[in-house]
C-alpha cells in the first residue's frame, strides 16, 4: 500500500515537474546530449563541439578497429551530414530525394521505417553544388527533415509518420534547402540556400508541435525584417543604428542580395542565444553591388524565442571572393585569452581567418589566419573588425572582365561547412581545411527569378609550393596558432570527431576514415570506405560497446569535377579544376559504414 502510494505520488510529482517543460525540447536534448551513448544532434551537442566522452576506443587500441556493419543508402550523389543515434535506433538521410531511414541497432542495418518524400525534380538543377543535405534533427519524439524543396517535415521518430509539414521557400525562385535544422525549446529553426540564384537569406523558426511559423529574420533589408533593435543590437560593442543593412546596398539589390543561411546553428542555453553565420552577397560580381552589403557574411547572436539579434559581426564586408560566413561556431567556456577568462565562440571562416569572440558581448578577441597561404587580406583590424584587403587580390578594384590571379584561399574557403571539433582534454580545436587558391574573373549578369545569378568564373589549384589540396590541423584558439598540421592530397571535406580516447576522427575525399592522435596528429588508423567521405563522423554505444559511424558518398562542391579525368591544366571552374584527379581515387555511392573493436 505504502510503496504503491509513494510510487503514485512520485509519478504525480514527475508529471507536474514535466508539464511546464513539455514544450521545451531543449531540456530533453540537453539531458540526452550529456549521455555519450547517444548522438542526438548533427554536431553532437548544442555547443557544436562534436566531442564524445566515450573512451573504449582510444589511442592505444584504435589501430585494431574493424568494420562492424554497413548499409547502402541506394542514392548516388553527395552524402553530407551524418547519422543520429537515439536509444536503439539510428537515423540516416540521403541527398535528393532525401530519403530517411530508421535503422534498428538491435539487428544492425534492419530498416524500421523509411520515409521518401515526393519532390518536384525541378528542384535538382536549382541546387548550386550537388543535391546535398546535412542531416536530420531530433526533438520531442520527432525527426525533422529539411527537404531540398524547402519543405520542413516532422516525422514520428517511432513510425516515420508525417506529423506536420511547413513550406519555407519557393524553389521556382531558386530557394532550396541543404542545412540541418536545430531544435531549441519549442521551436525548430531552419535556414535557406540559393545565394547563387539571388535568393534573400533568412533564418526561420517553426513551432515544434504545429509547424506554424514563429518568426523569420532576414539577413538583408529593413530593420523590422532583420529582427534587430537599432539601439540595442550591437556590432563590436556599438549599436548598429537605423537602416544598418539598407544603407550598405545600392537600390533594391538587397532584395536579391543573398546572405543565405545554409550552415550550422549552435545554442547557448545559459545566455539563451543561438549563433549562426550568413552566406555570400549576390551576385559574385562585386561591381554590381557597391557597399558593405550588410548583413551578408555575418555572425548573428539571436534570441531563439523571438529571433531578435543581440549582436552581429560582419567578417567580410563587401565580399569579392565568395567567402560565405556560414561555418559553425563552436561554444567553449572559460578560455583564457590575453589573461582574461571568456566564454567564447570559435569560428573558422571561409575567408581563412579563425575568430575567437566573447559570445556574450560579441567582442572580437582573436582573428588569425589558420592557413599560412591566406593572402587576400594582411590582417583583421581588431578595432573595426575589418580585414585589411590587399589591392592586388581585390576583384572589385581590379574590375569586371579582369582575371585576378593567385587569390588564397579559393572560393570554397580555407574551410567550408564540414564541421570542426574541440577536445576539452587537449584544449585544442581540430579543423578539416582546404589548401586551394584561385583566379577569379567577375563579369556582368542580369537577374531572372529562379535562374543562376553567379557573375564570375573561377579557376582553382593547389596553394603555391604545395602538391596537396588540404590539411587537417589542430588549432589553439586563445593564441590563434596552428599546433600541428597534417597534409592531405585532397581537401578534407568531412566533419571531425574528438573523443575522450585521445583520438580525433575524420574522413577524406578518397574515402579513408582516419584516426589520429589528439596531441600529436600521428595517424593511428585508416580504412578505405567504398566512396569519398564528405559526411561527418559520429560515435555512440550499443549494448555497452562503442561504435564509430560515417556516411561516405563523394559529391558536393568537391564532386563537380569528379568525372572530368586527370589533367595538368589548372584553369577551370570553381571546384572542378582542383579536383580533377579525384576520379582516379573514388566513384559515387552512398554507404553507411560502422566500425568497432574486435570482440
Amino acid at each position: 500500500m505504502r510503496p504503491s502510494l509513494l510510487k503514485s505520488a512520485a509519478i504525480v510529482v514527475a508529471a507536474t515537474l514535466a508539464l511546464p517543460t513539455v514544450a521545451l525540447a531543449n531540456e530533453e536534448l540537453l539531458k540526452m546530449e550529456g549521455d555519450p551513448n547517444q548522438w542526438v544532434t548533427q554536431l553532437g551537442n548544442y555547443s557544436g563541439t562534436r566531442y564524445s566522452g566515450l573512451d573504449q576506443i582510444n589511442s592505444e587500441n584504435v589501430g585494431d578497429l574493424q568494420v562492424a556493419w554497413s548499409f547502402s543508402t541506394g542514392v548516388l550523389r553527395g552524402h553530407e551530414g551524418g547519422p543520429l543515434v537515439i536509444g536503439d535506433v539510428m537515423y540516416i538521410h540521403t541527398p535528393f530525394p532525401n530519403i530517411v531511414y530508421a535503422l534498428d541497432l538491435n539487428e544492425p542495418g534492419k530498416v524500421i521505417w523509411k520515409y521518401e518524400p515526393r519532390q518536384d525534380p525541378d528542384v535538382i538543377p536549382v541546387m548550386c553544388c550537388d543535391t546535398v543535405n546535412r542531416g536530420v534533427a531530433y526533438g520531442n519524439g520527432m525527426i525533422f527533415l529539411n527537404q531540398a524543396d524547402t519543405t520542413l517535415v516532422a516525422l514520428d521518430a517511432k513510425t516515420g509518420e508525417v506529423k506536420w509539414t511547413a513550406v519555407n521557400g519557393d524553389p521556382t525562385k531558386g530557394e532550396t534547402a541543404t542545412m540541418s535544422p536545430l531544435v531549441v525549446k519549442d521551436k525548430v529553426i531552419v535556414g535557406n540556400s540559393g545565394a547563387e540564384f539571388g535568393v534573400r537569406g533568412h533564418m526561420t523558426a517553426y513551432d515544434i508541435n504545429t509547424g506554424e511559423m514563429a518568426w523569420r529574420a532576414y539577413s538583408t533589408g529593413p530593420d523590422e525584417e532583420l529582427l534587430v533593435n537599432p539601439q540595442e543590437t550591437t556590432h563590436l560593442g556599438e549599436p548598429i543604428g537605423e537602416d544598418s543593412s539598407l544603407k550598405t546596398w545600392e537600390g533594391d539589390q538587397w532584395k536579391i542580395g543573398g546572405g543565405t543561411t545554409w550552415g550550422w546553428i549552435t545554442y547557448d542555453p545559459e545566455l539563451d542565444l543561438i549563433y549562426y553565420g550568413t552566406g555570400n552577397p549576390s551576385t559574385w560580381n562585386p561591381s554590381q553591388r557597391p557597399g558593405d552589403n550588410r548583413w551578408s557574411m555575418t555572425l548573428f547572436a539571436r534570441d531563439p524565442d523571438d529571433g531578435m539579434a543581440k549582436w552581429v559581426y560582419q567578417m567580410t564586408p563587401h565580399d569579392e571572393w565568395d567567402y560565405d560566413g556560414v561555418n559553425e561556431s563552436l561554444l567553449v567556456d572559460d578560455l583564457e585569452v590575453n589573461g582574461e577568462m571568456h566564454n567564447v565562440l570559435v569560428h573558422f571562416d571561409r575567408n581563412g581567418f579563425a575568430y575567437t569572440m566573447d559570445r556574450e558581448t560579441g567582442e572580437l578577441l582573436v582573428a588569425e589566419k589558420y592557413d599560412p597561404a591566406v593572402n587576400w587580406a594582411t590582417e583583421v583590424d581588431m578595432e573595426t573588425g575589418r580585414p585589411q584587403v590587399v589591392a592586388e587580390y581585390s576583384t572589385d578594384e581590379q574590375g569586371e572582365d579582369t582575371n585576378v590571379q593567385g587569390i588564397c584561399p579559393a572560393a570554397l574557403g580555407t574551410k567550408d561547412q564540414q564541421p570542426s571539433t574541440y577536445s576539452p582534454k587537449t584544449g585544442l580545436f581540430y579543423v578539416p581545411t582546404n589548401h586551394v587558391c584561385m583566379d577569379y574573373e567577375p563579369y556582368r549578369v542580369a537577374y531572372t527569378a529562379g535562374q543562376p545569378y553567379v557573375g564570375a568564373t573561377l579557376s582553382m589549384y593547389p596553394a603555391p609550393g604545395g602538391d596537396h589540396l588540404g590539411n587537417f590541423i589542430a588549432w589553439d584558439a586563445a593564441k590563434g596558432e596552428i599546433v600541428w598540421s597534417n597534409p592531405e592530397p585532397f581537401s578534407v571535406w568531412s566533419g571531425a570527431l574528438a573523443t575522450a580516447g585521445d583520438i580525433v576522427f575524420y574522413g577524406t575525399l578518397e574515402g579513408y576514415l582516419k584516426a589520429v592522435d589528439a596531441k600529436t596528429g600521428e595517424e593511428l588508423y585508416s580504412f578505405r570506405t567504398p566512396s569519398g567521405i564528405i559526411g561527418n563522423v559520429n560515435t555512440y554505444t550499443h549494448d555497452g560497446k562503442q561504435y564509430i559511424a560515417v556516411l561516405s558518398g563523394v559529391g558536393g562542391w568537391a564532386g563537380i569535377g569528379l568525372a572530368a579525368g586527370l589533367t595538368e591544366s589548372t584553369a577551370g571552374l570553381g571546384a572542378v579544376g582542383a579536383y580533377q584527379s579525384l576520379s582516379n581515387y573514388t566513384q559515387l555511392g552512398g554507404t553507411l559504414t560502422v566500425f568497432a573493436l574486435p570482440e
Binding site: P121, I124, V445, Q451, A563, A564, G572, L573
Partner: protein, 160 residues
C-alpha cells in the same frame, strides 16, 4: 563573328515568339555546315568564343563539369556536341530536360528566360564546338581583346 551575332538575333526572335519551340525554324541551320562558329588565330580564340568559355563556367559547369567534360551527375558536352546539332543544342538549353527515376536523379533547367545564358547561347555553343572539335584544349583560352560591338551587344541584351 558575324555569324555568331546573327544567330543571336535569330534566337531572340524565336524566344519572343514562343518560348523556344519555334527555334528550329528561326535558326539558320544551313549556315553552320559552311562555317565554324569559332576562330583561332595564333593560338588565340576570338572574343565570342572566350565569352562562351566564361559564361559556360558561370552557368553550366556546376553540372556539366570543367571544360565541358561532364561531372559526377551531368553529361560531357564535349561528347554530346559530336552528335547534337545546333538546333538540338538550342532546344535543350531553352526547354531543359529531365531524366528522373529510381536510378537517376538528373535534371536540366530550362534556360529560355535566362539572359545570362540566352544572350550568350551562341558564344557558349562556339566554345563547346571548339572543344568538341578538338580545336581547343582544356582551361582558360588565350583570347583577343573585347570588341566594342561585343560590349554594346552584351549591355543591350542584358538590359544594362
Amino acid at each position: 563573328m558575324m555569324r555568331t551575332y546573327l544567330l543571336g538575333r535569330a534566337l531572340w526572335l524565336c524566344l519572343f515568339a514562343a518560348a523556344g519551340f519555334v527555334c528550329f525554324d528561326a535558326a539558320p541551320a544551313t549556315a553552320q555546315e559552311e562555317e565554324k562558329p569559332y576562330s583561332i588565330t595564333d593560338g588565340k580564340v576570338d572574343w565570342y568564343t572566350y565569352s562562351g568559355y566564361r559564361r559556360y563556367h558561370g552557368e553550366c559547369h556546376v553540372c556539366h563539369g570543367p571544360d565541358g567534360l561532364g561531372s559526377s551527375f551531368g553529361p560531357s558536352l564535349v561528347n554530346s556536341l559530336k552528335t547534337l546539332s545546333y538546333d538540338e543544342y538550342l532546344e535543350v538549353v531553352v526547354n531543359g530536360r529531365q531524366n528522373v527515376s529510381q536510378a537517376s536523379h538528373r535534371a536540366m533547367p530550362a534556360f529560355g528566360m535566362n539572359p545570362n545564358v540566352m544572350c550568350f547561347v551562341d558564344d557558349i555553343y562556339a566554345y563547346l564546338k571548339a572543344r568538341s572539335d578538338g580545336a581547343l584544349g582544356r582551361g582558360r583560352p588565350e583570347h583577343g581583346p573585347k570588341p566594342d560591338e561585343a560590349r554594346e551587344r552584351d549591355n543591350a541584351c542584358l538590359g544594362f
